[in-house]
């Protein structure tokens, strides 16, 4: 039957009478359906469906190896009274805010430096990106060794310089642990911010700076009134991505501290893994993960706003 069908279009075309099959073949929407099918299958099966399932699981008491029953908001009520959960929310916000702010400041500064004329420009730019290429866990392991309580090279150097007298317990002390993971995150995130902002900077016409310099603008004024306004849209997008990935960070913390000491570096993602997979309380883990969604939606809304503004700017500039 199918052979008859596939041979039909040729004959129909020859006689000039389009059959239903050839009309369907020429139809954009029908062709598009087949072209979109693989992508749609992946994204629905392994993204949209699990997303819904996760929200549903957060209303059940499912455990590993046992199907769950619907228990309403009990998981959330439980979390509401759980001081460790609130500590993880606090840690996540602190981690995201501080790391993103530093990444933005250093990343923008580095982008401005790289945008200037200098020898070996191309090589320096490619070297800058290496921390971003190397898998996070592997560089985190290197940081683990740098932060070691006995053999830390930082402690050793500072002792030799006479600044401190005993080893710093980088990952064992609450405040130091927080500072250490933030530093490692900034170290990995700065190249991404710098290189993407550099791409934005390169689209700014140098004649604008030349005109401003002739008008007597200072360095700061050139940055404030030319670079910054033209860069705002791309800054919005880059920082939304950066905030999003920092907020949902898991691997860096898991490789460095696993949430310790005394839960001081537990983020929502790591707590969700610990409760959901290690302790086996899938429902509770899913509830922690679902609690991250409102924050993510806020970040996405900001990103959307930034993109719209960019479109508007492109439209008005008539380039």
């Amino acid at each position: 039957m199918s052979t008859v069908q596939t041979s039909m279009p040729a004959r129909a075309a020859a006689t000039g009478e389009p059959s239903a099959w050839s009309r369907l073949q020429g139809n954009r929407n029908w062709a598009a359906f087949w072209f979109m099918l693989p992508t749609a299958a992946f994204l629905i099966l392994f993204l949209a469906y699990p997303l819904g399932l996760g929200v549903w699981m957060s209303f059940t008491d499912e455990r590993i190896g046992r199907a769950g029953a619907f228990i309403g908001l009990e998981n959330y009520q439980w979390l509401w009274d759980d001081s460790i959960f609130w500590l993880s929310v606090f840690n996540t916000l602190l981690y995201t805010l501080i790391a993103s702010a530093i990444k933005f400041a250093i990343g923008l500064y580095l982008a401005l430096l790289l945008n200037r004329h200098m020898p070996f420009k191309a090589i320096i730019r490619s070297i800058v990106l290496i921390p971003f290429i190397v898998p996070t866990v592997l560089s985190a392991i290197a940081f683990w060794w740098i932060y070691d309580s006995q053999f830390s090279i930082i402690s050793w150097s500072l002792i030799k310089l006479g600044i401190i007298h005993s080893n710093i317990n980088f990952l064992g002390d609450t405040e130091w642990a927080r500072a250490s993971v933030i530093f490692a995150n900034v170290w990995r995130g700065v190249p991404f911010v710098a290189i993407t902002l550099l791409a934005g900077l390169q689209t700014v016409s140098p004649s604008l700076y030349e005109a401003a310099t002739l008008d007597g603008a200072t360095n700061w004024q050139r940055f404030r009134f030319i670079t910054y306004p033209l860069l705002t849209p791309i800054i919005a997008v880059v920082m939304t991505f950066s905030v999003l990935f920092t907020f949902t960070d898991f691997q860096l913390i898991w490789a460095l501290t696993r949430g310790g000491p005394v839960n001081a570096t537990h983020l929502m993602a790591t707590l969700s893994y610990q409760r959901g997979i290690i302790s086996g309380r899938l429902g509770e883990g899913a509830a922690i993960a679902t609690a991250m969604i409102p924050f993510l939606l806020a970040a996405i809304a900001i990103s959307w706003f930034g993109m719209q503004r960019r479109k508007w700017q492109q439209g008005s500039s008539n380039d």
Binding site: M36, L43, L47, A142, D148, W156, F241, Q251, Y273, A289
Partner: protein
């Protein structure tokens, strides 16, 4: 007279190097303080962990723990003991193979799906194409950290638990949205006229895609491929959740779980493991820097 010489001088400067711009206005000492010095400091900080990784992986054990007798910033009598121990006494080659297998498989699947969907969205202009594009962009923003628990039960239900195949099927959800947006950007730059000519000559949609669009978008495909491959290699939380038995693990997961014992001599092999695991990506990056950068910035700019 002076005016004209100034002008010719300026013109000469402009002609000699157009990209130099206004940098001739700056004196050398000023450039050292405002440009070279900060850049040098940042580069040292960015590269130090790698130097430390390499140094530790070739240092003999006694030099690692005795920081008084030996200067820790250098190595005397480097050894390949850690690296050979890693390659011949652990399952490291197996983990490396797993990582490679998963990364290549997932990347090829994703690129194939992305080429089709990017073409459909940019060129077929079907009903709701713009909405689909936006939905795919949103899919890019859904992080693995909120999906790994439900996905673990989905994978369990499909009977794929503890199999690298599960990662090959799941990673495309991270890669397709990104690659689709990147390729959409490339496809938009290919002129419509080429396609129209082919249509008049009787080519089908499929032939147009395979014989015209894909060959013209090769740089975009390379960018998407390299970036996807790097993302796969880097992925951690899904691999950590789905893979249980030691021989099935990928490099990042195995390093975190299998090497961590109470031994103070673990650092040599740990750093060697991190180094060997990073090298393939760094080598790949060295060959395709331009593609990598355009992938990273392209997806953000689109």
């Amino acid at each position: 007279m002076t005016d004209s010489t100034l002008q010719t001088k300026a013109a000469a400067v402009n002609a000699s190097d157009a990209s130099e711009g206004m940098s001739y206005l700056e004196s050398l000492p000023r450039r050292v303080v405002t440009l070279y010095l900060p850049l040098f400091v940042i580069l040292v900080v960015l590269l130090f962990p790698f130097y430390w990784m390499v140094l530790t992986s070739i240092k003999p054990d006694e030099q690692l723990i005795d920081m008084e007798k030996f200067n820790p910033f250098w190595v005397i009598h480097p050894t390949f003991k850690h690296i050979s121990k890693l390659l011949f006494e652990t399952q490291y080659p197996r983990w490396l193979w797993n990582t490679m297998y998963v990364a290549v498989g997932a990347t090829f699947l994703s690129i194939a799906a992305s080429v089709l969907s990017a073409y459909a969205i940019t060129r077929l202009r079907f009903k709701g194409a713009e909405t689909v594009g936006v939905l795919i962009f949103f899919a890019y923003l859904v992080p693995p950290s909120i999906l790994f628990i439900p996905l673990a039960s989905v994978i369990q239900a499909y009977g794929l638990f503890d199999s690298p195949l599960s990662l090959i099927l799941v990673y495309p959800t991270l890669l397709i949205p990104f690659s689709t947006w990147l390729l959409m950007g490339y496809f938009k730059t290919i002129p419509y006229e080429l396609e129209e000519c082919a249509l008049i000559d009787g080519a089908s949609r499929w032939q147009i895609l395979v014989k015209i669009i894909v060959p013209l978008a090769i740089p975009g495909l390379i960018s998407a491929f390299i970036f996807s491959f790097t993302l796969c290699w880097n992925e951690f939380i899904y691999a950590l959740t789905f893979l249980q038995s030691t021989p099935n693990k990928t490099v990042p997961v195995a390093i975190v779980n299998e090497f961590v014992d109470g031994d103070i001599y673990k650092w040599g092999s740990l750093m060697a493991g991190a180094l060997v695991g990073s090298l393939p990506l760094v080598i790949l990056y060295a060959f395709f820097v331009e593609h990598y950068v355009s992938a990273m910035t392209g997806a953000v700019k689109e």
